[in-house]
Amino acid sequence: MARATDKELLAAIARRDNFAGREFFLRHRQGAFRVAYRLLGNEADALDVVEDAFVKIMKAAAGFRGEASVRTWFYRIVTNTALDARRRRSRFVALETADEDAPGLKEILPSREESPPAAALRKETAQKIREAVALLGEKHRTVFVLVVVEGLSYRETAGVLGISPGTVMSRLFYARKYLQESLRKYVETDSE
């Protein structure tokens, strides 16, 4: 049986088909969570954002215009919901580096027979990277998350944020430069 496309699911949601809503949620909840988690920095807030975003999606499905990309439309709702939540909680931003519940680098980069110190260093590096991402400014972080974490194209990201693809590339580049700078003492650069 052919799998319904996202567009077909949205049309079905607009007709109040709850099965379609559930299917859309199953397909996209993880993407929504990754974006929200990377933008907000903690699990509870990220899950609240996922919930709010999907309530909006169920409501807005009828207004989805066929010529737009579902991906762009979806990530725009998720991103805006997350950024709104973040602004509301802006007084916590300074503390927002806590990421203890994220898995360490050992799970990220399964490495062969690593000595304990090397494994610890890798884990520490991954942790520092996530902290550095959390400290990126909103504009740079949002672009970094959509492109690097979610794999959206520059054009899709531009569509989500209402900016030009050139601006996307430029923000992404500076986000990377910033991360690299803040990691200089953790990631060896043998050029120095």
């Binding site: 699990e43 996530r130 991402v133 194209s153 580049f173 991360l179 990691l183 043998d190």
Partner: protein, 169 residues
């Protein structure tokens, strides 16, 4: 010579950024690879950015039970939001009254022809009826309203039936 190397690396940094995203075309990718072969600094940059991408993609896993609870709340909130958009009972009641006065309906919208007959026995404010049939009997409903959807909500025990019109999409 030193100047030239620095400016080359700066030029390649943007290519490295696109390369990490898998969005560098083949020709430029070959150029970059040739540069990387002889440039430890750019290799380190590539490695750092790859590492950053992998670390950033990792998020805690959420268990199925938690997801299910979230879905339940989404469903509930969506249903509530939808119910809030529907005409409430007082609106429906006034429409029902309009329906009762056939002429008023015609005045309301010329395209609607409604003939609804309810035999209403007893007072709506009285206690619960012995059975719905004791109070209401739908003799016939004829509707010709191309632009409108007609909704009839089955009454809860002891409540009035609700009929309302919504302009169709």
């Amino acid at each position: 010579m030193w100047r030239r190397i620095v400016s080359d690396c700066e030029k390649f940094e943007r290519a490295i950024s696109a390369f990490v995203d898998g969005r560098l075309d083949d020709r430029k990718a070959r150029e970059l690879e040739a540069h990387l072969a002889g440039c430890p600094a750019c290799r380190a940059t590539l490695e750092a950015w790859r590492l950053a991408a992998e670390a950033a993609r990792e998020v805690p896993s959420v268990d199925g039970k938690r997801w299910e609870e979230i879905w339940q709340r989404i469903e509930k909130r969506s249903a509530e939001a939808e119910a809030a958009l529907r005409p409430s009972t007082p609106v429906a009641t006034s429409l029902w009254r309009a329906v009762w006065k056939g002429a008023a309906v015609t005045a309301l919208a010329a395209s609607i022809l409604l003939a609804v007959y309810f035999l209403m026995q007893g007072n709506g404010a009285a206690g619960p009826p012995a059975s719905t049939g004791d109070r209401f009997e739908v003799v016939s409903i004829e509707v010709e309203a191309p632009d409108y959807d007609v909704f009839v909500m089955a009454p809860e025990e002891g409540e009035l039936p609700v009929i309302w019109l919504e302009r169709g999409a």
